[in-house]
């Protein structure tokens, strides 16, 4: 079972407004973002199965990934 990516807020603009994207496991979050065309720099927080992870985290089968952008900050 592949991993599931959930981009939120302005990140949805980069994936044609999809709320959920199925992605291959065995790659890092960073590699996955690059492949999807989501600018790595505007992703502020990544959680995998509700645990914060860095963008170097290697995706496993069945992982659910939340991607959050910093919308307005400060």
């Amino acid at each position: 079972m592949p991993a599931t990516l959930r981009p939120y807020g302005l990140l949805k603009e980069y994936v044609a407004q999809q709320s959920e994207v199925s992605v291959a496991s065995g790659r890092t979050i960073r590699e996955t973002l690059l492949e999807l065309g989501i600018p790595v720099d505007i992703v502020a927080l990544v959680t995998v199965n509700d645990v914060p992870q860095s963008k170097d985290y290697l995706l496993q089968d069945g992982d659910t990934v939340r991607l959050l952008a910093v919308i307005g900050g400060g």
């Binding site: 505007i42 963008k55 307005g72 900050g73």
Partner: protein, 607 residues
């Protein structure tokens, strides 16, 4: 007037006279409330060139039309004054519950005038308003005193307090409330201390008239629903402002060792999830907040508790000082809060002093024996105390980084990180031109709360110098501070991304006046220009040079980190400013033109 407390309460501290006047309807129409009232009173009532610590300055404390009502985060209070730090316009926003209580006491603006002959506290219980002796309180820590006052008067009373920093005249003293909330920047606490007002103890029990109760119920419920259903709610509530610490480090925006770089090699131990795990024991919210972002922490190493640290404090008292342990940052935060001095400015002056020490510009003789190197935690704690007491090196630093650097010289002015005399807050802007412009043109000095534009920089190209970036900064400056005018928190829009149009029917239901965001941004633009006129009036040689950033951001590319080797060049800094003035309808020297003043109904005030 629907939505308003109804009164302007003036307290003449020199004579003890207390006056209550009805809030003028046309002032409410044109300036709305909160920060708008503050700007208007400052411009029209504080005489030109008044001494910020003297008799003629006023501290104007204002709630807004949304304050205290059933609106998410309706707990914001504005404190406006002439700044002892910059000599220009100061406005600081306080969360918690104070503003709501003001409304219930029937107060839209509370104006402290003159200077009391001896230390006093202001007691307000609905119609009862008294100045009472505060000599026994003078010298007490802000958090300690608030606890005592709560115990004395009861939980229903809301308390605002200055610490020893405000009493002693530290130029960046703040006002504390609800233990861990502050009106932080620009020296609003310094002015309160100069007036010899130690605390305000406040209770109100009146109702606030609302124009359309049915629409009020429906539209405010829609706002709360949007907050509760927001995608970001879970993480925002869990981490609060610390959600950005790791991100700033990754994109080179985390101030490191006096802004010499934008990423910190030891930064990971400061990140939000680490902080949550190590010290946070509960979330804390302000009045009516559905997304409590405050963090209450137990700091095991020091056996203490503190509200915080927020991102800004983590940046300025952590990475900016080369300090990597969140417990040390939390303790530094507590010291600043208890002593009553702004953590952002404190972190900046200490960072500057550390760089001076490492460069041999300040020696052990100057530091009173402190080994003031980056990363020295005990020296940081000692220096915070010295700043609050204005002793030794602390006396120099207590004036703010601009004056300290002017006095020390030896090239240290080049790394005094400020604009207009206000120390820059915690976003390193070597390589983010919209955010750089935001800091250059913010109306209180280098603060991030007006236009937070760094995501836009990253979306459209960080080094780009283009009209769309300038337009973005201006839009954010006209729009975001309107929350401070309305008296409610902006973070529900900012962090949860709720639709701002949900505020329109609520505001209409409360006040009975229909206003779109276009109408509100026009008021925002009016206030912005009024504050620009204020700077021009108060500062002898005020011109575009006052909008320049620290030379660090156009002369010194970071040597390390994500933005190593990157810098904005000076020509681009000037181009940004030219574009900004033109889009604002200002002259080449950065002053509103007559056409702009006429369009914003400011011509009469300007003349």
């Amino acid at each position: 007037m629907n939505g308003y407390g109804g009164n302007i309460l003036r307290v003449d501290l020199s004579t003890g006279k207390i006056t209550r006047q009805p809030t003028p309807a046309d002032m409410a129409k044109n300036y709305l409330g909160g920060r708008g009232f503050g700007a208007y009173f400052l411009f029209t009532e504080v005489p030109a060139k008044a001494d910020p610590l003297g008799l003629e300055n006023k501290l104007i404390i204002s709630s807004g039309p949304l304050s205290g009502l059933m609106v998410p985060g309706a707990g914001k209070c504005d404190f406006t004054t002439k700044s002892p730090l910059t000599g220009g316009y100061a406005s600081a926003s306080l969360g918690g519950h104070f503003t709501a209580e003001m409304k219930y006491a029937g107060i839209d603006s509370l104006i402290l005038e003159g200077i009391s002959p001896k230390p006093v506290y202001l007691f307000i219980d609905d119609e009862q308003v008294e100045l009472r002796d505060a000599s026994a309180m003078w010298g007490k820590g802000a958090i300690t005193l608030e606890k005592e006052l709560k115990e004395q008067f009861g939980e229903e009373f809301q308390i605002a307090v200055i610490g020893p920093g405000g009493e002693n005249g530290v130029a960046f003293a703040h006002i504390n409330h609800d233990f861990g909330r502050q009106a932080g920047r620009g020296g609003v606490g310094t002015v309160m201390g100069a007036k010899k007002v130690k605390a305000i103890v406040l209770r109100g029990t009146k109702q606030i008239p609302v124009a359309d109760v049915q629409l009020y119920r429906e539209s405010s419920m829609a706002l709360f629903k949007a907050c509760k259903e927001a995608d970001m709610l879970k993480e925002w509530q869990r981490y609060g402002t610390t959600i950005v610490t790791s991100w700033c480090d990754e994109v080179g925006a985390l101030p490191t060792r006096n802004f010499s770089a934008g990423s910190f090699e030891d930064g990971k131990t400061l990140y939000g999830p680490v902080m949550r795990e190590q010290i946070v024991i509960t979330d804390k919210g302000c009045f009516g907040c559905p997304s409590p972002c405050g963090k209450y922490s137990k700091v095991g190493r020091y056996k203490s508790h503190v509200e915080g640290p927020e991102y800004e404090t983590i940046g300025m008292l952590g990475s900016n000082l080369g300090i990597s342990d969140i417990q040390d940052v939390a303790q530094a935060n507590l010291l600043c809060d208890e002593l009553g001095i702004d953590t952002i400015s404190t972190g900046s002056v200490i960072g500057w002093a550390m760089e001076c020490y490492e460069k041999g510009i300040l020696t052990k003789e100057d530091t009173g024996g402190l080994e003031l190197k980056f990363g020295n935690v005990p020296a940081t704690f000692t220096l915070i105390e010295k700043i609050a007491r204005r002793e030794g090196l602390g006396k120099l630093l207590s004036q703010g980084v601009k004056k300290a650097a002017q006095q020390v010289g030896k090239g240290s002015e080049k790394f005094a990180i400020h604009v207009k005399g206000m120390e820059q807050s915690a976003y390193a802007t070597h390589y983010a031109t919209a955010m750089l412009l935001a800091y250059m043109t913010c109306d209180v000095g280098a603060h991030h709360n007006r236009a937070w534009a760094i995501t836009y920089d990253l979306q459209v190209g960080r080094e780009r110098v283009a009209e769309d970036k300038v337009a973005r900064v201006i839009w954010l400056q006209n729009f975001r501070p309107m929350f401070d005018v309305l008296g409610a928190c902006r973070l529900q829009w900012v962090e949860l991304g709720i639709d701002r149009n949900l505020y329109v029917p609520v505001l209409e239901a409360i006040t009975g006046v229909h206003r779109t965001w276009e109408d509100l941004e026009k008021i925002g633009e009016r206030i912005w220009n009024l504050n620009r006129l204020y700077w021009k009036r108060e500062i002898e040689d005020f011109d575009r040079s006052w909008d320049l950033p620290s030379p660090r951001f156009y002369q010194e590319p970071p040597k390390t980190g994500v933005t190593a080797g990157k810098i904005t060049n000076y020509e681009d800094v000037q181009t940004l400013l030219d574009m900004y003035y033109e889009q604002r309808g200002w002259s080449h020297e950065g002053l509103p033109t007559n056409d702009t003043l006429a369009r914003l109904d400011l011509a009469a005030l300007a003349n």
